[in-house]
């Protein structure tokens, strides 16, 4: 009896919220409708439909209940039954309690679940006391890999269970579990739910350029946090470029000594190891990119002999502004270059653990090579005179061979392949051009050229987040599908996934996080969730919920709709300071809006009687 009374009380309270949200959304004030909504809800048992985004303008789309996951799982069956948790009496258990990845995940997610000041178990509901996590491989994997298994099943009922084949699936499932929780008046709730989930694509990458602007370590780590909240699994670290060489090499320390912006704008070996470890325990691979033969100006500061002297009027090392500088691309005809790269990548192999290295190879413009008589002579010798894509091919063959001999695999940008060079069959080709859909060269035309040649591909074109315009632009990011090109099923199956890129001409630690998030979340759902999950009006509120979730977790994710994030918004604690490691100051949970309680309550009572 007591339970029924309690459930009625809770039902009424929650219903008010439903009506409230509905009313505010529709700007309507019909009491009859209120009764209708309330009664429907109460008859159909307790329901956790609460809104906390007060949008006053009527907008289309289904509002998701709080505790809606992002990206959308393959199968998500929430029920209207609620459970609660007692922060003082809850534990994670696992068959791999001695595995560092499991231990650290539990340490991370405990404060994420219960760390907000003053949250407590909901009255009238019996709390779940345990999440039982079973990893059926019974193996504590060390590093995430291309072929890792990220699938999992999660059930929250009278008990809560998470099962996965590998620890990586356990991590993804734990993230989902943490998103199902929501707070109401400082009380903790979760809908009873059953989820069967696994990623659509195995490669879900996020790229950061740390050469045009240096991105400090704490910011990179924050970004890895945000990546894990969105189930990204590859950090593509475009670590050096023309502008600077922040990577500290032990073999060639002069590279960063002369090529970095300053001796403080560097990533030392221990910094890189720190990032890799931070990513590893979150199930994120770190693929470094050492872009060659173009984009190598900063290498030339310490080793000018790597670069091609460009000629003007027969004089080597002479720039023609607008065409080339004094020195450009690597001089691919010199054996020195390959000896150097052999030693350099042997070190890279030791520093980075992923099976893949990104070898760049984009935008190796030919003009400087064309001006250089030694290169012309070399090409004549090889009977490839005038055919610079063959020179590019020669370089690709030699360097990919170096990587292959080191026992590593490679990703390259599309350029050599597009130019007609034949690269090794096992090369992963990243398609990056044609993102401006207003242009003729839509990305799918490149995909259609490259995919039939048998390469595995990754799409990046649609997701260049450095390009900005007046919002909302998340929908365009959301609706780009990497398999939407004309090709055979086999070609589409060779699309390993996608990647969102942030070239850093105009970003650094000051603005990179709000520029990524939640725009990158759009990409995350496209790459994780089933293809059919693509309705932007439905996604709109769920991605906003995800953005508010990130804000609570200390990621300054920018707004994409009018509104607010419940009783917490950025800056409610201390103003964000450069010490970004500091956890966010949060208070309470989402709070009931009492705005029309007085209007509805008497009507409710009348109705109930």
């Amino acid at each position: 009896m007591r339970r029924i009374v309690l459930s009625w009380i809770l039902c009424i309270v929650l219903s008010i919220q439903v009506v409230n949200g509905w009313l505010t959304a529709n700007n309507a004030r019909s009491p009859l409708l209120s009764i209708l909504v309330v009664s429907t809800c109460c008859v159909s048992r307790l329901h956790g439909y609460l809104t906390y985004l007060a949008l006053r303008m009527p907008l289309k789309g289904t509002r998701p209940p709080p505790g809606s996951p992002w990206p959308m799982p393959k199968e998500w069956n929430p029920t209207s039954d609620l459970v609660t948790f007692d922060p003082d009496n809850f534990r994670f258990s696992s068959n791999l309690m001695n595995c560092d990845i499991v231990i650290q995940a539990i340490e991370r997610y405990t404060p994420i679940l219960f760390g907000y000041k003053g949250v407590k178990k909901a009255a009238g509901l019996s709390p779940l006391t345990e999440l039982k996590m079973t990893i059926s491989s019974n193996k504590c994997d060390q590093y995430p890999r291309m072929a890792m298994d990220e699938s999992y099943e999660l059930s929250v009922g009278d008990t809560a269970e998470l099962t996965a084949n590998q620890v990586w699936g356990m991590l993804r499932g734990l993230e989902t579990f943490s998103q199902l929780i929501f707070y109401q008046d400082g009380q903790i709730f979760m809908n009873k739910t059953r989820i069967i989930d696994g990623p659509r694509f195995s490669y879900r990458g996020l790229h950061t350029d740390t050469a045009r602007h240096y991105i400090p370590l704490p910011i990179l780590k924050k970004n890895l946090d945000a990546m894990s909240y969105n189930k990204f699994n590859v950090f593509h670290w475009h670590i050096v470029d023309d502008q600077s060489f922040p990577f500290v090499s032990k073999t060639f320390p002069e590279l960063s000594k002369k090529g970095a912006y300053t001796n403080k704008h560097v990533y030392k070996p221990e910094d890189v190891a720190d990032i890799i470890e931070y990513a590893r325990v979150r199930g994120i691979r770190v693929i470094p990119e050492f872009d060659t033969p173009g984009h190598t100006h900063s290498w030339g500061k310490a080793f000018p002999e790597l670069l091609t002297p460009c000629y003007a009027n027969g004089v080597p090392g002479t720039p023609i502004w607008g065409k080339y500088a004094a020195y450009e691309n690597f001089d691919v005809t010199k054996e020195f270059v390959y000896e150097f790269l052999g030693k350099f990548f042997a070190e890279v192999k030791e520093v980075f653990h992923d099976e893949y290295i990104h070898m760049g190879m984009d935008e190796a413009y030919y003009r400087c090579w064309q001006s250089n008589p030694d290169i012309t002579a070399f090409m004549q010798e090889r009977r490839i005179e005038g055919n610079y894509s063959k020179l590019e091919q020669y370089y690709a063959e030699r360097t990919l061979g170096i990587i292959s001999d080191l026992g590593r695999k490679y990703v390259i940008w599309q350029d050599p392949v597009e130019n007609g060079a034949k690269v090794r069959d096992d090369t992963v080709v990243m398609v990056w051009k044609g993102g401006n859909t207003a242009h003729e060269d839509h990305w799918n035309s490149y995909m259609e050229k490259i995919a039939p040649r048998g390469y595995n591909t990754i799409l990046a074109s649609c997701w260049y987040l450095n390009y900005i315009k007046y919002p909302p632009d998340w929908e365009a990011l959301y609706t780009c599908d990497p398999q939407d090109f004309n090709g055979s099923q086999a070609e589409k199956d060779r699309v390993l996934g996608g990647e969102t890129c942030m070239w850093s001409e105009y970003v650094d630690g000051t603005n990179i996080l709000p520029r990524y998030w939640p725009r990158a979340s759009s990409v995350a759902e496209r790459l994780w969730s089933p293809k059919i999950v693509k309705n932007t009006t439905d996604a709109m509120y769920r991605i906003d919920q995800q953005r508010c979730r990130m804000v609570r977790r200390g990621i300054p994710a920018e707004p994409i709709l009018d509104g607010y994030c419940g009783d917490y918004d950025w800056g409610f604690g201390d103003v964000d300071t450069p010490e970004v490691d500091k956890p966010p100051t949060c208070t309470g949970g989402f709070r009931l809006e009492g705005r029309i309680t007085l209007l509805v309550l008497p009507l409710l009572i009348v109705f109930v009687l």
Partner: protein, 544 residues
């Protein structure tokens, strides 16, 4: 002021740098390394007269102090400014300084800045539209003297001094021999923040006031309420706040919050001009103040929707008088902004009460009834002894306003509008060019920098009426997470346009100075984003 009508305009307005085809943007050869080199120790915005020599003097951070030439003319505004500027000059957080200063300053290093204030300041002074912000700054060897007529000039001069001291490669702080005679080109250098579409917390507003002071802005135009929410916590009408705020406990500005903001701004020589926009943009007022808004009709029945403030009943004006009396008491500035923009007539047209009232009054157009409303409101506020700032539509509709009214031009075609408004003899502000909520890829600051408020046909007398301008940050897509990095240093471009001489208008010449200025802001703890292409700051946000 919602922006739908504005999008088209802005596309034309901002020189959008859309890349023809996406590139990795390696840039051309000359752009390897930092795209723009930085100056060292140059001020932003550029002073009216600025002479500097290569000769420099060390400044002894351990011994340095500000000295009043005449202590009796000092006040708390000045004393607090000294406390503020010491860490601004020598490092907000010394441990993050790029060069750890084990440096020992030589014995002939500068140890003080003499400050000469002619008109004694009082603890109760407020900055005004007419305040004198001029100052002179003379650094000669280890002697430095700042003089100004009013406290507001001293504040501007202290900022300039804090910018010309810089850290040299040996770790010591140095200042070049410099003579500056400075005063603003315009009296009103404003920034609008919209705290209705998204709430912005008090600490972030204060951070922004700091940034404004460091760019010599002097008006915080606080667009505090609008359609989406009503965060102003009214004493007389708490129901409006309770029902109109996003969250009446957390997403509100209490009376104390507002007093704190006003005080924080005053200390920095910044006026706070609140905007309570009406009769449009008032949805959020209606939840807690029934019958204030016009009921919209479908056929002969109200359809549950609400439009602008209902201009007909007397109760509207009773309410407005009471409400604005409260506002007038809370905000000390002579001016308040009364809005008056973007009134949609559709709801008025549907409402029979409005129709019959118009018939009674002999009105033939809805802009006449808008004028009727505004005139009543202006009379009420004028009766409270306040001046007002209004959006251009009020004048366009032909309302009679007080002679000291400041008209804010925000629509496209501003040149013609400025010509018209100044011809009518009103003080005028320009904001059309400086809507910073609109974003585009790349160095969009150059367009803001290049917008010249005098570029309209008018006599010298007309141009004299231009009080300055405002840069606007409407809140559709910004909140605490991104407002600071979106504003700064793009707003700095506007800051220089409004402060410096008209001839200081080459973005190319400005970019090295702006790059230093943005890094200076980063060193001082602001999330000022990079806007001049690849490069670095000695101290980066987030570390280094």
């Amino acid at each position: 002021m919602t922006m739908s009508s504005f999008v088209g305009i802005i596309l034309l307005l901002i020189a959008v740098e859309i890349p023809g085809s996406f590139q990795h943007d390696r840039g051309h050869s000359k752009f390897r390394g930092p795209q723009v080199s930085q100056t060292a120790g140059t001020p932003w915005p550029m002073p009216l007269s600025y002479h500097t020599q290569a000769t420099f003097t060390y400044v002894d951070a351990g011994e340095f102090k500000f000295t009043d030439v005449d202590e009796s003319s000092s006040c708390s505004i000045l004393e607090e400014a000294y406390n503020r500027y010491f860490p601004l000059i020598f490092g907000r957080r010394p441990e993050t300084l790029f060069f750890k200063s084990s440096f020992k300053a030589p014995t002939d290093a500068m140890t003080e800045l003499m400050v000469k204030l002619e008109k004694p300041c009082k603890d109760t002074d407020y900055p005004m539209l007419e305040s004198d912000e001029s100052y002179t700054l003379d650094v000669n060897g280890n002697q430095a003297m700042l003089s100004a007529s009013e406290i507001w000039g001293v504040l501007r001069g202290l900022e300039t001094f804090s910018q010309i001291v810089y850290q040299s490669n040996d770790g010591g702080f140095v200042v070049n021999n410099t003579q500056i005679v400075d005063k603003p080109r315009f009296n009103h250098r404003g920034m609008l923040l919209d705290t209705s579409r998204h709430f912005i917390s008090v600490p972030i507003l204060m951070t922004n006031l700091d940034a404004m002071a460091q760019n010599k802005f002097n008006v915080f135009h606080w667009h505090i309420v609008d359609d989406p929410s009503f965060p102003y916590q009214s004493e007389k009408f708490p129901k409006i706040t309770n029902m109109g705020a996003y969250d009446p406990e957390t997403h509100v500005y209490t009376q104390t919050d507002i007093k704190n903001i006003i005080e924080y701004a005053r200390m920095r020589g910044i006026r706070v001009v609140p905007e309570f926009d009406s009769p449009g943009h008032t949805s959020s007022w209606g939840y807690g103040q029934p019958d204030l808004l016009t009921k919209c009709y479908t056929g002969s029945q109200p359809n549950g929707q609400f439009g602008p403030v209902n201009p007909v009943p007397n109760s509207t004006y009773v309410f407005l008088k009471s409400f604005f009396t409260e506002i007038a008491q809370l905000f000390p500035d002579h001016y308040m902004h009364l809005g008056g923009d973007e009134v949609s007539f559709a709801c008025w047209q549907s409402n029979p009460e409005i129709t019959s009232f118009m018939k009674k009054m002999g009105y033939t157009s809805y802009s006449q009834i808008e004028e009727y409303y505004m005139q009543n409101l202006l009379n009420i506020v004028g009766g409270l002894g306040k001046g007002y700032q209004i959006w251009q539509e009020v004048i366009d509709n032909g309302a009679k306003v007080r002679a000291d009214t400041v008209v804010e031009v925000w629509k496209a075609g501003w040149e013609a509008e400025m010509e018209k408004v100044t011809k009518l003899g009103y003080k005028t502000l320009l904001s059309t060019c400086w809507y910073l909520n609109y974003i585009s890829y790349g160095s969009d600051w150059m367009a803001y920098y290049g917008c010249e408020p005098f570029n309209f046909n008018g006599t010298d007398a007309q141009k004299q009426l231009i009080q300055g301008g405002e840069t606007c940050m409407w809140g559709e897509y910004v909140d605490g997470t991104n407002v600071i990095s979106r504003l700064w240093p793009r707003a700095s471009a506007v800051g220089e346009r409004l402060w410096s001489a008209k001839e200081i208008n080459s973005a190319f010449l400005a970019q090295s100075r702006l790059t230093e200025h943005r890094c200076r802001m980063v060193r001082r703890g602001f999330q000022a984003e990079p806007i001049t292409g690849p490069g670095f700051c000695r101290e980066e946000f987030g570390g280094v």
